[in-house]
């Protein structure tokens, strides 16, 4: 729905593009502009730009009629498409004339019901157009239907006295227009040619994959009179502002440095940024640090909307299972090697025939599945590879992704599992002792850290109630920071229940226990308790200052 874009105030950093496209109809009439082929990576915001343009023209402009059509949701059987295209155009025209969005949203309303409204608007020529379209339909004239639908905006511009700005989204799908079954009527897309030539009816066309869109426009009939507008990713500061504003709406706070690192990884892609913010909300995060963002990210590329998006693209692009494995192998090879090998060598390394390899390479190139420096696609593909080729479990993949993005580059990561048995916490304390020595911590600091981990383990042993009598520990140590994660299965103890009484209150009462979390909070810089899958996780963070390191 073209009027269902994000609020204009939240739409950042596309002012120049929007301003130019708003003026496109006027410029085109003066022969100062062409049709616009809007190109850019998937998720960069091409559809959103069209929606913002539609909204802006719909509410703020009288002299240019906006028409938005997405082929993504269109039925591509030509007769069905023609009816859908024509009906949507009429409804959007009437909605614009009356400034009444209801006509756009009401998809099922038959055109006949609109006749009185059209008549009251004095759009007699539109009534003629509807009759003409109906006649073509009644006579089973396929091309007549297609032409009267596609030329409807041009007719409206010529007879209605106002230019129509046509926005065709997901235009790459128009290649699949057909009569009875896919592929039986190639070239139906060229029917748009005449409409695009009309100066009263500028077209903005976009879609993905970029290579396919470019291929359609390599046809001279469409190529001529078309200019490219490339939509770039958001710059770093804008992307950061967008991410922060999305989180703010969900009452989530985020560590700035961690957010900046994420924004850089997401390459300023608004789709990814929105998905990440939504993931944080779904995972009921309140504050986001490096580890939280790593968790949200692993969720996104494995189970979230980003994963769903790329899974759909992948499934749509490759239906053959064998080819899918080859493509995954190829992507992984490129990820590991970081550069492209020659075909002959690739064929040997991957153990596939050159023909199959060629098909895999074509799939990658034509469907934007080559990473093009996008780490998100790389991570999505890697997780898919681990799942489908290596047979790893979701937990193992999640762990790997989280470790990749939650540990500082100069850190050492240690993992251990201890039983919930008497004095097992001392084993964990011993580990802290050695890790502390590795990073030259002052012995006194180390002793405090040992106490914190001892308290955390005791707490896990006392409260878990699980049959699985194990505590999972992970230590990430760098010269600047020590992070310890202690996970225990079983009952969750919520942070709310951890409020400990003051010493005075404790001294007056009979209960002298319950100092553990007070100690942890005093010793560590951060103590976070959360439920992660079936475990309670306590994260202890100590930021190491210069005075805490041995000279």
């Amino acid at each position: 729905m073209p009027l269902h874009g994000i609020p204009a105030k939240d739409y950042l950093n596309r002012e120049d593009e929007l301003s130019y496209l708003r003026r496109l109809a006027g410029l085109r009439r003066e022969d100062l502009a062409s049709n616009v082929l809007l190109v850019g990576a998937r998720g960069v915001g091409k559809t959103e730009l069209l929606k913002q343009l539609f909204q802006s023209l719909f509410w703020e402009v009288q002299e240019v009629v906006p028409f938005y059509y997405s082929f993504k949701t269109a039925a591509l059987k030509s007769t069905t498409f023609a009816k859908d295209y024509f009906t949507r155009f009429v409804k959007q025209y009437v909605a614009f004339s009356r400034k009444e969005p209801l006509y756009i949203d009401n998809v099922s309303m038959p055109l006949q019901r609109l006749m009185p409204v059209i008549s009251s608007l004095g759009l007699d020529w539109m009534i003629d157009s509807i009759s003409e379209f109906q006649e073509n339909t009644d006579h089973g004239d396929l091309y007549g239907q297609m032409l009267s639908a596609i030329s409807a905006p041009v007719n409206a511009a010529m007879r209605g006295g106002r230019p129509v700005l046509v926005m065709l989204d997901d235009f790459t799908a128009s290649e699949d227009l057909h009569e009875a079954k896919r592929g039986d009527a190639p070239g139906l897309t060229s029917l748009f040619e005449e409409s695009m030539k009309n100066s009263l009816c500028p077209h903005i066309i976009t879609g993905s994959p970029a290579a396919k869109l470019e291929a359609i426009f390599s046809d001279p009939s469409l190529h001529k009179g078309t200019e490219r507008m490339r939509l770039s990713p958001l710059p770093e500061d804008t992307a950061l502002s967008l991410f922060a504003s999305l989180l703010e709406k969900m009452n989530i706070t985020c560590d700035r440095d961690a957010a900046l690192e994420l924004v850089r990884r997401l390459r300023g892609n608004p789709l990814y940024l929105r998905n990440m913010a939504k993931a944080a909300s779904k995972m009921r995060k309140k504050t986001l640090g490096v580890r939280d963002l790593a968790e949200c990210y692993s969720h996104e590329i494995m189970d979230g909307e980003t994963a769903f998006y790329w899974s759909s693209v992948f499934a749509e692009s490759i239906r053959d299972k064998g080819l899918r494995r080859t493509v995954l192998g190829l992507i992984m090879h490129q990820l590991v090697k970081g550069k492209a090998d020659g075909r002959e060598r690739l064929s040997k390394v991957l153990g596939v025939r050159e023909a199959e390899l060629g098909a895999a390479l074509d799939v990658l190139e034509l469907n934007d599945l080559g990473q093009n420096g996008d780490p998100v696609i790389g991570d999505f593909m890697h997780s898919l590879y681990m799942k489908e080729i290596e047979g790893k479990t979701a937990g193992e993949i999640r762990e790997q992704v989280e470790t990749k993005y939650s540990s500082p580059r100069d850190s050492s990561v240690f993992e251990m599992v201890i039983p919930m048995s008497e004095q097992a916490e001392l084993v964990a304390a011993r580990a802290v002792d050695q890790i502390g020595k590795n990073i030259n911590l002052e012995p006194e600091v180390m002793n405090y850290l040992q106490l914190a981990i001892v308290e955390c383990c005791i707490n896990a042993i006392e409260h878990s109630g699980s049959y699985e009598k194990k505590i999972y520990l992970k230590f990430a140590a760098s010269p600047q920071r020590l992070e310890i994660m202690i996970e225990s299965p079983g009952r969750y103890f919520s942070p709310d229940s951890l409020e400990e009484d003051s010493p005075e209150k404790k001294m007056e009462s009979g209960r002298k226990r319950g100092w553990g979390f007070t100690l942890m909070r005093k010793i560590m810089d951060e103590v976070k308790v959360e439920r992660v899958h079936d475990r309670t996780r306590v994260t202890l963070v100590k930021k190491i200052t210069k005075s805490e390191v041995r000279k």
Binding site: L426, N447, V454, I458, M507, K512, R513
Partner: protein, 120 residues
């Protein structure tokens, strides 16, 4: 931290019992310590010094048991002193706001002198 197995030794100096907890002071060890103190209070001793020089680590349960000993002794009209605590051990009591409930001495002699003076 050496975390040797917990043991508790003790001796009597005039009317003062001096107790030496060794190793890791946790729930099990703390109960041993409580029992040792209880043995002396039952025999009529009201002045107890706990010397921590051989104690490696005191966890929060150990602390709660020390509070318990202190409370028992106070009820009986006695006095409890702690000596030879490491900087970290003392720091833990400070963190928890418990220093005002105990008497701390750098060494055993200081505590014994204080208790003798208090008894005169």
């Amino acid at each position: 931290m050496n975390s040797t197995p917990f043991n508790v030794g003790s001796r009597v100096v005039e009317d003062v019992a001096v107790i030496y907890p060794q190793g890791y002071l946790n729930n099990l060890a703390g109960e041993g310590l409580v029992a040792e103190c209880g043995r002396y209070t039952q025999s009529g001793i009201r002045k107890i010094v706990v010397n921590f020089r051989e104690t490696d680590l005191i966890n929060s349960i150990g602390i709660s048991l020390l509070l318990h000993i202190m409370e028992e002794l106070q009820t009986a009209g006695g006095t409890l002193c702690f000596t030879d605590m490491s900087k970290v051990q003392l720091g833990i009591f400070e963190m928890l706001g418990l220093t005002k409930y105990f008497r701390f001495f750098p060494d055993e002699n200081g505590a014994l002198q204080f208790l003798n003076a208090a008894g005169e």
